[in-house]
Point group: C2
Chain length 376, copies 2
């Protein structure tokens, strides 16, 4: 099945998609997910760590989500990207006292959907974490009104325990995909489940939708109910997929996941961010994955891989070179989650001929900083 979407007009693109589907031989070419416009670069906005749904029972909680939506709206209007990537921790499931966390997930993608911009999402460690009953509910003013909702996730109807089991990754992803024609997210190959958000998209040439300009790889770095790791099976899946659809490494590849790999620790600036690193905040230590199971070896040995983008550390926004590729942080976009650093989003800009990958950070107040070229 083939899709073609850009950021101009979703409806006409659906027609184009149906047309392309009718002329393409299924299986011969990889999926077409986003096409460049002639004479224009292709822009991608990364929204990282939005943390929707925190403390919904307080005045503070919903206000954070309003603020996060405003950040997204401002950045999207400033940048008019062709694609948005939700880089994990879209919601704070361990803080969501309803069985269906998809309601908050849906709020988080709403500003992008409202502008007709396609998007793709990858899971972070908070997205399916089990609800943690707040200690303050046990003292005055006690448990808020939402206690024991009628749809509590209990097999004993009428005797619901206030025990919110959360929403599994698969269900979150299915709901996003099923209800949103603009979603490019995928449930990933079944043999990698419960690691769900593992898939590849391509950005295709303005001249020919069958010519890929870049492959965007999404990998699920776990967390929540799963170890914080990219497994050797995921690494193998990446390698086989890349060898299959890009055997001569002709097409540049860009990789997205939520939790930084251990390689980030090796390149992290000690204090101030100095060349060759580029960024504006370096306020905490890298909180890396639990183990390194082979993905970094594969990436550094593949000349087509240009950069990895991660979120997770709200107080870090740098890019640093690591061997022959770049390791970059996004920028904390949400008012949810720890940290009071000003909110923003990392932008990627791809040009086709010659291929280039540039990046900068766009702040909520419109300021732009930390410009870097990742293909020199």
């Amino acid at each position: 099945m083939a899709k073609l979407l850009n950021h101009w007009n979703a409806l006409s693109l659906i027609n184009l998609y149906l047309y392309l589907q009718s002329i393409m031989t299924v299986g011969e070419t990889p999926e077409i997910n986003a096409q460049m416009r002639a004479g224009a670069p292709f822009k991608i906005v990364l929204f990282a760590d939005l943390h929707f749904g925190e403390s919904a029972w307080t005045d503070w909680g919903p206000l954070q989500d309003v603020n996060s939506s405003r950040v997204m709206s401002t950045v999207l209007d400033d940048e008019a990207p062709g694609l948005v990537i939700y880089l994990g921790d879209v919601i704070t499931a361990n803080n969501i006292a309803i069985a269906n966390a998809s309601l908050y997930w849906d709020q988080a993608i709403s500003p992008t959907r409202a502008r007709g911009i396609p998007w793709a999402s990858v899971f972070g460690n908070h997205d399916d974490a089990a609800f943690e009953w707040p200690l303050e509910w046990l003292s005055s003013p006690g448990i808020p009104q939402l206690r024991c909702p009628t749809e509590a996730n209990s097999s004993y109807s009428g005797e619901e325990e206030c025990d919110f089991r959360g929403t599994p990754h698969l269900e979150l992803m299915k709901k996003e995909i099923d209800h949103n024609v603009l979603s490019h997210s995928k449930k990933g190959p079944k043999d990698l489940w419960p690691s769900i958000s593992n898939y590849v998209l391509n950005v295709s040439s303005s001249h020919d939708p069958n010519i890929a300009v870049a492959y965007l790889y999404f990998l699920d770095s776990g967390g929540g109910s799963y170890p914080q790791v990219i497994s050797s099976e995921q690494a193998e899946w990446f390698l086989h997929k890349a060898q299959e659809i890009n055997p001569d490494s002709r097409v540049p590849e860009i990789v997205f996941w939520h939790i930084p790999s251990k390689a980030y620790e090796k390149v992290a600036p000690k204090s101030a961010i100095e060349r060759p690193c580029v960024g504006s905040i370096n306020k905490e230590s890298v909180a890396a994955q639990e183990a390194e199971m082979g993905i970094m070896d594969i990436l550094v040995n593949r000349s087509s891989v240009k950069a990895v983008f991660a979120g997770h550390n709200h107080g870090l926004d740098w890019c640093c070179p690591y061997q022959r590729l770049w390791l970059c942080y996004a920028r904390h976009s949400g008012y949810g989650g720890y940290g009071d650093w000003a909110r923003g989003a990392r932008i990627l800009e791809i040009t086709e001929k010659p291929f280039s990958l540039k990046s900068w950070i766009r702040m909520e107040d419109g300021a732009v900083h930390s410009q870097v070229t990742l293909t020199t």
Copy 2:
């Protein structure tokens, strides 16, 4: 509804129970749960931290459960108690890769049930913890055969995610109660849910089943999906209940919960266990509840409260006085859970006239130690 059971003959006791139910006026007297035998003390065995269900996919896991069952059988045959108390962490739910953890719970109570001995259970922090996907499943030899069982707890049948959501406390408790006539466990008052295992049992006089010799209070100290605490609401429930059924504090009261309260930290031996403390191992620090919300104040101000019994710390088995009552640890009974200290069980012995509460530890090899009288 009234129950009367002792350890001699469950069937004849069921008849007695039906007879007593027919002659009693419901609501006038508290429930009768266990009756003393004339001329004999009443013995209670505490099984703490059995941790059934750990690593069921390895050779090691099921073997631990076999070993734990042997400990229980040996102690029960040596002591022939009138009641068994399962003092929490009956299972290690964060390690149980099935939706229905009740299967392992049922294994844990099996040795007691097989001997026709009544029991009561209280939850520990591991009993409803969410499954934690083991890191080792992501490397060779990979995920064991149980991957994606057909009854996975997913709303997408046919697309089960290997995401085991665990079994809520309410469901565990309902299954124990519904399937076991010998179970004295209760689901607790609804207004304390999701804190479930809050209830009181009584041990009644051999002369008159309507005269209580001791009240046994069970309190849920949380953990898993809930804070590790005894809330002010639970403390108030205890106080109101005690004032209602024992207004003049005539009847001694004994309290059971899983996680030691912060008061345990105050009385813990610094190194060797010396008088007035009594015990045999003092191998770790007290791992106390997160907060103290009033229960200890209530207990120390009630002259009828004689002692509190907790589990949780596998490397501690002492009793120490705290103001006018005793704070005691049980003894790690299970081969599951951390620690290699020899397994055993704390025994309580109640005499009626005069009332006395004695205790000792019975080891798996039959040895007895740490005898202490808790009513002098």
